[in-house]
Each structure stands twice: as C-alpha cells, then as structure tokens.
C-alpha cells in the first residue's frame, strides 16, 4: 500500500509546521472536492495530508466592517447565501451558485476554490490511473512533457493568456468575480502573514505552466477580502454546455456604477476563456464615461478579445465571450439603485 499520513491541524502555525516537516509531497486539505478527485485520477499523489478544517475561526464570514471578509474555510454555499452578499453583491453570490452542484458547494471552501486546477481533459485524464485510460503529455502535470491540447481537442481551451506550453483554461467562477471586485488574498506561511491583491495571485502559464500560483507551497490562504462598493449593480453571467453542473464556455463578472445612463466605472473580468481569471481592462475603458447601449456593450465585449489567440476548435469563444460581456453589462446596469 502507498501510505498517506494524515495530520489534523488545530492552528495555522501547527498546519504550516506540519507541512514544512512533511516536505514536497504534502498537501493541505480543506473541502477535498478537488484534491480527492485529482488523487483518484493519479494527477495528485500526496504522501501527507494536512487537514485544515479543525482550525477555529477560519470559516468566519464578516460583512459588517469596511470590507467583506471571508475566512478561507467558509463554504461556497454559506458565502453565497449570506444576506449581505446575496443581496448586496450579486456578482459574488451568482459566481458561487452557478458553480458545481449544491452538494459540492456544501463541501467546497471559498479558499480552496481559488486553487482549483484546470479541467483540461489532457491534464486530468492522462495521468495513467485505472480510473481512465489515455496517456497524454501535459506540461502542467509533468513539466517538459509537451502539451496535447495544442493541436488537439481544444474546444474548451483558452484564447487569452495562453502560451506555447499550455492553453488550459482557469476553471473557476468565484475567482473571476473576485478579480472584478479587486479582492485581496490573505496568506499565512513559514514567514508569517501577508496579503496580495488577487491580480498577483495567479501566474500566466508562460513556459512554466506547472507553477500556477504566486504562493509558496507551504503557505495557506487564510481569508479573502473584498472592498465594499455599491455592488448591487453587478452580475456573474455564465454560458456553459448545460445549465448546471458545468464549467463556463465563457463567463463575465461585471459590476458597474452608473450616473443615470452613463457608466461612471465598470469592472469586468472573464472566465472560461483565459488561462487565469482575466481582468478585461480594454472593455472597462471602452464603456467608462459613456452612455451604455447594447451596441456599446458589444463593442466593449469585442475589445476584451483583441489580441486573443484561438486554437483549432475554440475561436467561437472570442465571439461568445464578447456577447457574454455585453449581456452582463446590460444586466448589471439594470440592477442599479
């Protein structure tokens, strides 16, 4: 039997200490919805699991202060249905509720969700486990082995932020909403506590697609904070191959502040089309200070995809993504008040 040690940490310090002592093949365990899945597929083969779910206070949801603060262990379902979030920040709530299934949302944590691995089928299904059959090269799983998605079945793959080494899509919905809302990620590690803006959290694949996060392996996410804004005029619009239990083909997190029919500010981020949660600055610039019309909204959507690089089967995502932004802008603007 391949042994796996299991440690249940009671404090952040104990967790980091256990991780550091265990070495490279240790993994932190929170909701387990990604890790166990990847272990069955042979993508993850940890020797040490450090369970964080016993750390007190790490699941607290605070909405009364200057910022919204979500403890890393707060469950996706709980955050989504927190009244201040559900009513005041539809973009956050919808991004959680349009992800996975209710069962998974009742297990998965909002911190762990930031670290979800790509759904690229070559990444997941090519690791040689008995759960599946194919054996596929993947630079993300095995650095230097090549990328089967490039020149392969890449309908689901990224058109933005891809490199010659990897075109895998960042799968999340919640991180896209957080990207639009300029969230900050609080971390704790061997060097103590620190925080970074979410924009610095994710790495483009470049020639090192196996390095996805600007985080030390021993570091833990402890909380996510979101600046308070008039967030009601927002939405997370997600288009997928079926109406639930599916990842985005293209999604947009949009929050606007309006002066009558004029856009004062727009925050726009894209999911399902890029290798990382993708802030669409060109789209934001295009609508700022202008009267929002469906035509302008579509033009902004198109602007977000300038410079996009499609593969063999995913060029439609540029068109679809632009339309998703356009619809999301109109939905968000309608919610102002």
């Amino acid at each position: 039997m391949r042994p796996i040690s299991y440690t249940r940490a009671g404090t952040l310090e104990a967790a980091v200490k256990a991780f550091t002592a265990a070495g490279a093949d240790a993994r932190y365990l929170a909701g387990g919805t990604t890790l166990y899945d990847l272990m069955k597929l042979g993508v993850e083969r940890p020797a040490h699991l450090i369970d964080l779910t016993g750390i007190a206070g790490l699941n607290i949801i605070e909405t009364d202060g200057d910022v919204l603060r979500f403890g890393a262990l707060a469950l996706m379902g709980d955050v989504a249905y927190t009244p201040a979030v559900h009513e005041g920040y539809p973009v956050l709530s919808e991004s959680l509720l349009k992800a996975a299934s209710q069962q998974l949302r009742n297990m998965a944590t909002v911190g762990g969700n930031l670290l979800q691995r790509t759904r690229c089928m070559y990444f997941r299904n090519g690791a040689g486990s008995t759960s599946t059959v194919g054996v596929y090269p993947c630079n993300r799983r095995q650095p230097g082995s090549g990328c089967a998605a490039i020149g392969g079945l890449d309908r689901g793959h990224a058109v933005l932020g891809a490199s010659d080494a990897c075109t895998a899509v960042s799968p999340g919905d919640w991180p896209v909403a957080l990207m639009a809302m300029d969230a900050t990620i609080e971390l704790f590690g061997p060097g103590g506590a620190r925080s970074i803006p979410i924009a610095e959290f994710y790495r483009l694949p470049s020639d090192t697609p196996h390095l996805q996060f600007n985080v030390d392996p021993a570091e833990l996410i402890t909380a996510i904070t979101v600046p308070k804004t008039p967030g009601r005029a927002s939405t997370y619009h997600k288009i997928r191959d079926r109406e639930s239990f599916a990842f985005a083909l293209a999604s947009a997190a949009v929050a606007v502040e309006m002066d009558g029919a004029t856009v004062r500010t727009a925050r726009i981020a894209l999911g399902g089309v890029a290798t990382v949660p993708w802030r669409a600055q060109p789209a934001e610039d295009m609508v700022r200070g202008k009267t929002l019309t469906p035509e302008l909204a579509l033009e902004a959507g198109r602007a977000a995809f300038r410079g996009a690089r499609p593969g063999q089967h995913n060029a439609f995502k540029m068109d679809l993504g632009a339309r998703v932004i356009a619809d999301a802008l109109m939905i968000a603007a309608e919610r102002r008040s």
Binding site: Y122, T130, T132, V133, G152, E243, S244, F316
Partner: protein, 705 residues
C-alpha cells in the same frame, strides 16, 4: 381481453429503490470476497512485448495477476486503447488499483485508424435495398431535397457501471451482475468453463440502466469467474467509468446522405438513403440496418438504400437506445422539414398526408397503427396552430428567437416466445416466476398490473421473480420487446388460473379474495404455467426461449403483417438573442405503443426518452483525439448529458389503442421508441427560429452564433 384499458398503479419497486433496498450486482458482498481491477492497454494498436508482473505482486494485498499466460482472452495483441491486458486480484480494492497502476508493460506500437476520415480509412460496402423505381421517381420529380446528416459517436452511460461478483461452490458458478440478457451470459460462461449450463446461475434482479450496453456477454464476467475459481474465493470487479468508455460498446458515428423526391402535386415519391458508419470488421451493429425502420414510416413507394462501413481501430460499436432509427430519423425527418419548406406545406400536414399502410420491405400490410393520431393529438396539445411558418418570424419581446419543430420516429414492435408460472396461495401471497430484466423501465410494474387487474389478489404480497436464471429462463430484454412479450403470457396465465379456480370452486364460489377462497376450499395454493408464442412462431420458439433468450425473438415483420410503434415529437426552442443559448421550454411527446399496460411507468419512459432525445440533439458527443484513438471526455463531467436544469415542461401522451395483430394483449414496446424524433424536431425548430439548417449533432452554441 385486449379491449380492457389498464388503470395506473405506482411503480412496484419504487419504495425499495428509494430506501436503497434494491440490490444491484456491485452491492453484493460475500464472505472472503476478493477485489479485482482490470489493467487497460495504453496503446491503440500493436503488441505487448513484455509484462513484468512483479511490481504488482510486490504490493501488500495483491494476490494474483492474471495475464495472457492464464487466460487467452488477455492476448498480447492490442486492437484498441483500453483493451484489458491483465486482471489484478487483491484483498482490498485499494491494493487491486495500486497493483493495476504499478504495471508498466512494454508495447510495440503500430499505426492505427482512429476515425472514419484520414489515411487508410476506406469504405467497405454493405448490403443495400431497393424498392420500386427510384431512378424514374427522381427523373420525374418536381422537387428534390438533398442533404448530408451526421450523428456522433455516443456512449450509453447508464449510472450503474459494470459490476460483477462471481462465486463458486464446487462446480457451481453464481454470478451477480447487472445485465440485459442473463441467459446469454449463462451460456457464454458454461461454454467458457466447459460446464453443464444448469451449473451456472446469473442473478440480475435489478439493472441500473442498460440501453443496449449490457446486452452482450462481457469479457469481464468470464475473467472474474476465472479468478474466483482460481482463488477459490468470491471476486468482485466494478470497472471505473473511464475504462468503460474504452471497453463497452457505443453508438457509432454515422453519416447519412439523403435525397427526397416530390412530384408536382407535393407527394413524396422517392427516398434515396446512403449511410456510412464507423465499425470494426464483422461488427455486430450493421450499417445495412439503417433503412429498415425509416422505409416503413410513410407511404413512399420508391426507396433505395446503400450502406457501407469504415473500419476503425477502436472497440466494437453496438446497439444503443434508439439504435438504427435514431440517426436515420434525424436525417429523414430533417429532410422532410426541408421539403415542407420547399413545397410551402405545413410540416405536420405533409406527414399526415403520407400515412403508411404497407411495409415496403416485407411487402405486406402494416398492422393497425396510429401515427396520425399522435400527430393530431400532439399538435392540439402543443397548439401548433400558433406557428407562423416563416423562419425567424416568431420572437419574444426581448428578441429571443422562437422555433417550433415537429418530427416522428418509429421502431419495430418485436416480440419473444415466453413462459410464466403463476401461483396464488391461501396464505395471502402470490408469486410470479417470469422472464425479463428490470432496468428501470418498469417491467415488474407491468407484470404486476397485468395480474392485479385480472385477479382478485392481495397486491401488496405479490412477488415477481425475474432477472435470475435459477427461477426460470430469462429472455433477452432488448429491442423494446421485454414488456410486449411478457404481458401477453402473464395475462394468459391469469386467465388460465381463473379458469382453474372456477373449475375448482364450482358454481358457488366462497366469498373473499382468491386467497380467502383458497383457504375456505382448504387448498394451500393453485399454480399454472403457460407459454405464449409471438405471431408465426412454432413450438421450437419455446425451446429457444428455454435455452437462449435471444433465439426466441420474432418481428417486427411477422407472417402476413408488420408491426411498428410510433411517436410524434413537438418542441419549442428559444434562442437567446445575444449569447444564442438554446433552451427548450416546452416539449410534447405522443406515442402509439398499442395497449398501455402500466400508465405510470410508461409515462416515466416517455419523460426519460424526451430528455435523452434532447441530450442527443444538444449535448452528447464522445470526443476522440485521433492522435491517441482514446475517448478524451470519459467521465460524466465532460461527457455532457442533459441535467434537470436543462429541461422545461414536458407533456406526454399515449394513444392507448391495442394492436390486435401483434399479440393477445395488443401491447407494443416503447423503450427505444421514446427517444426518437426529438433530435430532428429540435433541429427543425432551430431552423424555424433562425433560418439555419444544422445537419450535424450535437448542435452547440457555436453553431447558432
């Protein structure tokens, strides 16, 4: 007897299923049981040169690794990715998996043909068919519609995986496994182990979805049985879905070139249908079968079918729910929609105008059937009259494009010789020893309803024994013939039992139900065994039934007539103006399945069939990367099937008029039928909404952007 309408009873096994009491093959746990895992070949074609089993046998808990040295079926010659090359047997499932993953065979690869196109892919002609004078009809045609239609590779994906438990007791073998044809499994195992068939027992009381995937005997069953004999302990194998994608059968991709001729008065005069599909040499799913149902759908006298196969280096394709008529109806029913536009005719009316009376293949009459009633009733419930024919002419206020589409389907009403033993006891119980497999379709409920509506017995203490070769011969539950075969013989048994009872009780029967009457007559029980043949069969069919379930089948062309079941599907499609998301807020599905025996489970089938049809039209495709010949989306997350949130309102209806020729109960099957017609109806509705004719499934968002 066929004149009687059946009232509805609840699904008899619903409570057991909800409580988890229904036992499936993989649920069986036996003392001392070992666990096994298959080792899949990781190349598409070639030879396994070396297999060192020590990395597996060194793992604690691994007891044995079976290879080609033990079993010739685990041959080193590899014909498809995922072909089993070894079976690891261990004390725990974890050790079996670890052992299987530890093996690292050395392969010699050769080039392979993964898909119908590409180097080396050549068409091998198959048998065709010709009726009437197609050439003249096309020469004289006023309107010709021509198009190429394609349906993709699709996997069945029942929720229940292949779960096998095998146990030996001396020379006696018992296998627990979900399957659609226990008798065939029994014969295959008896042959493989050189045993007398009565020493082999197959138990398949519940099947967690079959859809054709669980009809042929599986290599897995024999391997597990072999391992159990070798170890002298029970062995269990539940094969993971990712492997199942690679070793079970699947629906082959097929491309249909169809031409349709109409004369100056708008009558359809000829169909020319050419099909090519992916297959393996001598594959069991024949390309020569595609025309056989659609040639009977309408009164079109001239029909030419040509067919071919392209041999690929993958596992064998086989029957999948809807079988040949699914792709063929997609092609024909889309083409008829095109023709209706070309002629300026209503798509419902053009179908009503071509009601078939004759089977042009067997050259004989069709038994009484009611497709036109399905169309008329469907149009009424759907309010078809609100449709404005011009494509793109119907919109919601927000710009959503609305499309209304119709299409039909049909499936051969086959039957089987069958036998039933019915025993009513004084103690309040009743037992039926019957035949067939409960796959969720409701065959147990149909049997129960046939009895409780004809005999005054206690319905709560009615035991129905099926899916078990030790209780009696079990017919193959395939081609939607299960219920249609077992209901007539069950009805006959009920009648025979009542006759026996009347004989026994004389002119003044005692009061009470049959159990109470038996008690008063001081008889512990009465029992009858009866058999029934399909039309045109002789006594040899019962012999066939007793020895091998499938050999007892007959139809859909019986001596002197042909019987088909029919369905008409109406769908409303909405396409969002900007993102072009395709939704189906309403569907109406009306079927002619002869007499309806179990209204509750029949409607359940209708709902499920509509959802499956929606899924085949807009969701499902097995993705094959030609560089590897493997199935990339080999799990339920990435093989996209419809979910509840996809489905709007579904209104189902059944004509419920008996087919007086097909059997004494007037019952036809419906399991395959109910998924037919939906895909072309959806494609036709999308055309109506957008003006875009899409001839390839599944239709995805990028097709309508």
């Amino acid at each position: 007897m066929p004149a009687e309408v059946f009232s509805a009873i609840p699904r008899v096994d619903a409570r057991d299923k909800v409580l988890g009491n229904a036992q499936y093959g993989a649920d069986v746990i036996l003392p001392g049981m070992l666990y096994a895992m298959l080792v899949p070949a990781r190349i598409a074609k070639g030879t396994m040169r070396e297999l060192d089993i020590t990395p597996a046998t060194q793992i604690a808990g691994v007891i044995r690794v079976l290879t080609s040295k033990d079993v010739s079926s685990l041959a080193p010659k590899i014909s498809f990715l995922g072909q089993p090359i070894a079976l690891v047997v261990a004390e725990t499932i974890e050790a079996a998996i670890e052992g299987a993953e530890a093996l690292n065979p050395v392969y010699e690869k050769v080039s392979f043909i993964p898909l119908m196109e590409g180097p080396g892919a050549t068409r091998v002609p198959a048998e065709g068919f010709d009726a009437g004078d197609v050439d003249t009809a096309f020469r004289d045609a006023a309107t010709i519609i021509e198009g190429e239609f394609e349906t993709p590779t699709q996997h069945h994906n029942p929720i229940e995986l292949f779960g096998t438990v095998a146990e030996w007791s001396g020379e006696r073998l018992t296998v627990y496994e979900g399957c659609q044809n226990t008798e065939a499994v029994k014969s295959a195992l008896a042959q493989a182990f050189n045993l007398s068939p009565e020493l082999v027992a197959i138990k398949s009381a519940y099947v967690g979805g079959g859809f054709g995937q669980k009809s042929p005997p599986k290599l897995q069953t024999a391997l597990v049985a072999y391992a159990a004999r070798l170890m002298q302990r029970p062995v269990k194998l539940v094969t993971p879905r990712g492997q199942l994608f690679h070793i079970t059968s699947y629906r082959p991709r097929s491309v249909h070139h169809i031409r349709l001729a109409a004369n100056a008065s708008g009558r359809m005069t000829a169909i020319s249908h050419d099909v090519v599909q992916e297959n393996i040499p001598n594959g069991a799913f024949r390309s020569s079968g595609y025309h056989q149902d659609i040639a009977r759908l309408y009164s079109i006298e001239n029909f030419r079918a040509t067919a071919g196969d392209i041999h690929i280096d993958r596992q064998t394709p086989r029957h999948t729910r809807g079988t040949h008529p699914f792709p063929a109806c997609f092609a024909l029913e889309s083409a008829i929609d095109e023709l209706a536009y070309a002629l300026g005719k209503d798509p419902v009316q053009i179908r009503l105008d071509h009601e078939a009376k004759t089977d042009i293949i067997a050259r004989q009459p069709l038994s009484p059937h009611f497709l036109n009633e399905c169309l008329t009733e469907g149009a009424r419930r759907f309010d078809w009259s609100r449709r404005t024919p011009e494509p793109g002419s119907m919109r919601l206020r927000d710009g959503t494009m609305v499309g209304l589409g119709v299409a039909c389907g049909l499936f051969g009403a086959s039957g089987s010789a069958a036998e039933t033993t019915l025993r009513v006891r004084a103690d309040g119980t009743t037992r039926v020893i019957s035949s067939g497999h409960e796959m969720g379709q409701g065959i147990r409920t149909a049997i129960a309803n046939t009895i409780v509506q004809r005999l005054n017995i206690n319905p709560d203490r009615l035991e129905i024994l099926i899916g078990d070769t030790t209780v009696g011969p079990q017919m193959a539950t395939v081609g939607e013939r299960g219920t249609a075969s077992i209901v007539p013989v069950t009805a006959k048994a009920a009648q025979a039992l009542r006759a026996r009872f009347e004989e026994l009780a004389g002119a003044n029967p005692p009061a009470g139900d049959l159990h109470e009457q038996l008690a008063r007559l001081k008889r512990p029980y009465i029992e009858v065994t009866v058999s029934e043949l399909a039309p045109g069969q002789d006594a040899s069919a019962i012999q066939g039934f007793r020895t091998a379930g499938r050999a007892a089948g007959a139809g859909a062309d019986y001596p002197g007539f042909t019987s088909m079941s029919y369905i008409a599907q109406f769908v409303e499609i909405h396409i969002e103006p900007r993102t072009r998301r395709i939704r189906m807020p309403l569907a109406v599905s009306i079927a002619d399945i002869g007499r309806v025996v179990s209204p509750v489970t029949a409607k359940g089938q209708m709902y499920g069939g509509m959802v499956w049809g929606f899924s085949t039209a807009l969701r499902e495709e097995t993705e094959i990367d030609p560089r590897f010949a493997g199935y990339l989306n080999d799990d339920l997350a990435d093989y996209v099937m419809a979910v509840n949130a996809d489905i709007g309102e579904i209104d189902v209806g059944l004509i419920d008029k008996p087919d007086p020729m097909v059997n004494s109960a007037g019952v036809k099957g419906m399991g395959e039928l109910v998924m037919l017609g939906t895909a072309p109806a959806i494609a036709n509705a999308i055309y109506h909404a957008t003006g875009k004719r899409i001839r390839k499934l599944p239709i995805r968002i990028e097709d309508v952007l």
